[in-house]
């Protein structure tokens, strides 16, 4: 799929943070915030502008869990499987959500690019376990049933 990327926006990110290696992670975070993933074209562009090899940028981008080289859905669902959520039964929620959306651990994004389902180690909201987030909004004390209701509500809202 050929896509046109807004390299001007990348330029302004680079200008704001500067071309030193120490700012690489922050720069990648900004790019990902704009695109919901790290497109190869932009990484190549950054490599050239920053004078860092593409291999080096890939080494950093692939090391950290939060960076994604694949496009993500419009709504990123994270199901917390930290200790507290795990002992309060987070896995049945994950299974139900995956089943409902027809996604798996290997293929976490729906074909219509609406939803991506991920697990996260701990959101630090353990008092409300089990929790899930949709685009960073935290939903407390989930059950498989509540999760499905929530998905339906998100779909409906999106249709409007």
């Amino acid at each position: 799929m050929e896509q046109n990327f807004d390299f001007k926006a990348v330029d302004s990110i680079l200008e704001f943070y500067g071309n030193e290696q120490k700012n690489l992670i922050t720069i990648l975070q900004c790019v990902q915030a704009d695109h919901r993933y790290l497109p190869r074209e932009i990484l190549e562009y950054i490599a050239e502008k920053m004078g860092i090899s593409l291999a080096k940028i890939y080494s950093v981008a692939t090391f950290y869990e939060n960076f994604s080289l694949d496009p993500k859905g419009k709504y990123v669902i994270k199901i917390c499987d930290g200790t507290a959520c795990h002992v309060r039964k987070s896995i049945p929620i994950l299974e139900k959500v995956r089943e409902t959306l027809g996604v798996t651990a290997e293929k976490p994004t729906t074909s219509d690019m609406m939803f991506t389902v991920e697990t996260v180690s701990c959101l630090g909201a353990c008092g409300l376990a089990p929790v899930m987030t949709i685009n960073d909004k935290v939903y407390p004390a989930m059950t498989p049933e509540k999760a499905v209701e929530l998905l339906n509500a998100v779909r409906e809202e999106d249709n409007e």
């Binding site: 990648l28 909201a125 008092g127 409300l128």
Partner: protein
């Protein structure tokens, strides 16, 4: 408002105190991550609206230069009692309203804010009665909150309130009354030990940095609180960010550094946001930046957001990540104090450690040492979660027993089940159990180390009799294996092999030899891994093997999970006394394992059964049982 001298700060503090005392009622709506998820921000907005409708004088910030009384409504940090959020606290009465809903706002505004009356139904109730004041509730009464005291008592976003409550007094003292050596000595004498897990004396670290030849030094704060089940540091960063900044500033004076870095987990967006605003506010007030309060001390603080790598909690991996590299640990020595960030001498402490520093400088060594134990002075914040009645954030003196924490503060086990164990210190820690008589073990650095556990960053996950300890070990191994950076062989390969064995055991295909192999691997990885992550990765395995070996044996020999938790070891049976022979289960079974004649009891062919549980959810008569 740029404060240029000690006198100007003192005068400014007076004006803040005066403004605070003008607020005859202060409403503190908890805006920690937990309560925000419960809708506390809507409650905050609604209360302001209602007050405005009623023509009450509302102040959302400290309004100086007004002499009339008003109602202060503010967003505070985490009050700690996350289980019963959203929480709204009313000062100066000390009332705490729990599980407040949007619909309750009108009653609160009308009764409490207008007429100073209680809304009794929102107070804490349990079998021992009703508690109107926050610090009478058993959950709070048994705590000693010195580090978290202002989390929930002040507006987390307001430097003015922090100053009014005595904030930056420690900075004043450090800047004008002490030199670097004196500060280091005082922190060393206080016995403050690193709250991030290791328990290394903070003062000793500072002296080592101070004594380096290299003059470019850094102060780094580890806010990469990655242990699943821990959120103490998050609550401090969200609830009282200035306390931590003040601690870092004092570390800067003590080690003659000019630059500070805070490394925060990416999963904590609210903490990042509040820290950014606090740094801005401190800069505007002249408490950060060049020539602080007119002295020749200059200090800046930067924020780096992590990108999701647990190993970055390890010192050398954290500094590599701030430098923009892969967050992989390196071989030591040289140590972080000699060659840390950008290969310069670096003080690296965690959030809670820095938050302790202003207390020590303000109140003195003797006061600090009067709390806690001889070798572990002060308090420790714990995140108490899992199968316990009152989950939340607590703070107790070091040396408090597990019993006090779980039963007096935590209220005992949820749904009145039996206490089985707690897991302490996250994936690097171990478990403390009822069977080993560890309920009366004092929680401090040294006692825990003796029994093979550690305080870690302070996550306490309580488990009841239905928790399978082998599954717990598998869960943590899965986590560590995922987070292993892959640099050293023992951790990269060892954690994977241990995980495979654990998966076999919980999956019902484990053999007796597997347990010995697991133990051998665990000991080898502990001895040979490069960094703290690998060295401690096997702790949950070793600790569960030590205390719950019989559970492992039951899994491999009897093919049974004593806790009844492991799905693969469950056997589904139909109770013939309850079965009405409706055939609903047989129609639901995806593999055709259920057969029988209508109106007489059905049976499950256990060889065909895949243990999916579909029959159990389908049965209207609870006739399908797990054994």
């Amino acid at each position: 408002m740029m404060l240029k001298s000690r006198e100007e700060l003192a005068a400014y503090r007076q004006s803040c105190e005066a403004a605070l005392s003008n607020q005859s009622i202060r409403v503190l709506v908890c805006a920690g991550t937990g309560c925000v998820a419960g809708g506390s921000l809507e409650i905050y907005k609604r209360l302001i609206e209602l007050c405005e409708e009623m023509k009450l004088d509302v102040q959302v910030t400290l309004e100086k230069e007004v002499s009339h009384e008003g109602i202060g409504i503010k967003k505070s940090g985490c009050h700690g009692f996350c289980e019963l959020g959203p929480l709204v606290k009313i000062e100066p009465m000390g009332w705490l309203y729990l599980q407040v809903k949007l619909e309750d706002c009108e009653e609160i505004a009308e009764k409490t804010l207008k007429n100073r009356q209680k809304v009794e139904r929102l107070f804490y109730h349990d079998e021992t009665g009703m508690y109107e004041k926050q610090f009478d509730i058993p959950f709070y009464k048994n705590q000693t909150r010195i580090v978290l005291d202002e989390c929930g008592q002040i507006d987390a976003d307001s430097i003015d309130e922090y100053i009014a409550f005595g904030g930056y007094k420690a900075l004043e003292r450090a800047l004008f009354e002490m030199d670097s050596e004196q500060i280091c000595t005082e922190i060393e004498e206080s016995g403050l030990r690193g709250r991030g897990g290791g328990g290394y004396p903070a003062g000793r670290k500072w002296v080592q940095v101070l004594n380096q030849k290299e003059t470019e030094r850094y102060v780094v704060c580890n806010g990469d609180e990655g242990d699943p089940g821990a959120f103490m540091d998050r609550s401090i960063m969200e609830g009282n960010p200035h306390r931590m900044l003040e601690g870092m500033l004092i570390a800067g004076i003590a080690t003659k550094a000019r630059e500070g870095y805070i490394y925060v987990r990416a999963e904590y967006p609210l903490a990042v946001d509040r820290l950014k605003r606090s740094i801005d506010a401190a800069q505007r007030a002249g408490l950060l930046g060049d020539n602080i309060l007119g002295t020749d001390f200059s200090f800046n603080i930067h924020i780096n957001q992590g990108a999701g790598a647990f190993v970055c909690g390890e010192g050398s991996a954290l500094t590599a990540s701030i430098e923009g590299e892969r967050g992989m640990p390196r071989v030591k020595p040289p140590r972080t104090v000699e060659a840390g960030l950008f290969s310069k001498p670096t003080v690296l402490n965690n959030v809670e450690t820095y938050a302790n520093v202003p207390l020590i400088i303000t109140n003195g060594v003797d006061w600090y040492r009067s709390i806690g134990t001889e070798t572990s002075p002060g308090t420790k914040a714990f995140a108490i979660t899992g199968n316990v009645k009152n989950t939340g954030l607590i703070e107790v003196p070091m040396g408090t027993t597990l019993r006090e924490v779980v039963f007096d503060i935590g209220g005992g086990i949820k749904n009145d089940q039996e206490f089985k164990a707690v897991q302490i210190g996250g994936p690097s820690g171990g478990c403390l159990t009822l069977g080993a008589g560890q309920l009366d073990l004092p929680l401090d650095f040294d006692s825990l180390k003796k029994v093979g556990a550690m305080i870690g960053s302070g996550g306490l996950v309580v488990m009841d009799e239905h928790t399978c300890m082998v599954e717990v070990a598998r869960f943590f191994m899965n986590f560590t294996q995922n987070e292993s950076c892959g640099k050293c062989v023992p951790c990269r390969e060892g954690t994977r092999r241990m995980l495979e064995i654990l998966e076999r055991i919980v999956g019902g295909t484990g053999k007796l030899e597997d347990i010995d192999l697991l133990e051998e691997l665990a000991n080898t990885v502990s001895k040979t891994a490069l960094c703290g992550l690998g060295k401690t990765a096997a702790n949950p395995v070793l600790s569960t093997l030590k205390y719950f070996r019989e559970e492992y044996i039951a899994h491999v020999v009897d093919k049974k999970c004593p806790a009844g938790a492991c799905q693969a070891l469950k056997v589904y049976k139909i109770n013939p006394d309850k079965c009405k022979g409706c055939s609903k289960c047989a129609r639901q079974c995806p593999v055709g394992a259920i057969s029988g004649e209508i109106k007489s009891p059905f049976t499950i062919d256990t060889d065909k059964c895949i243990k999916c549980g579909a029959c159990k959810s389908a049965c209207a008569f609870s006739a399908v049982e797990e054994v």
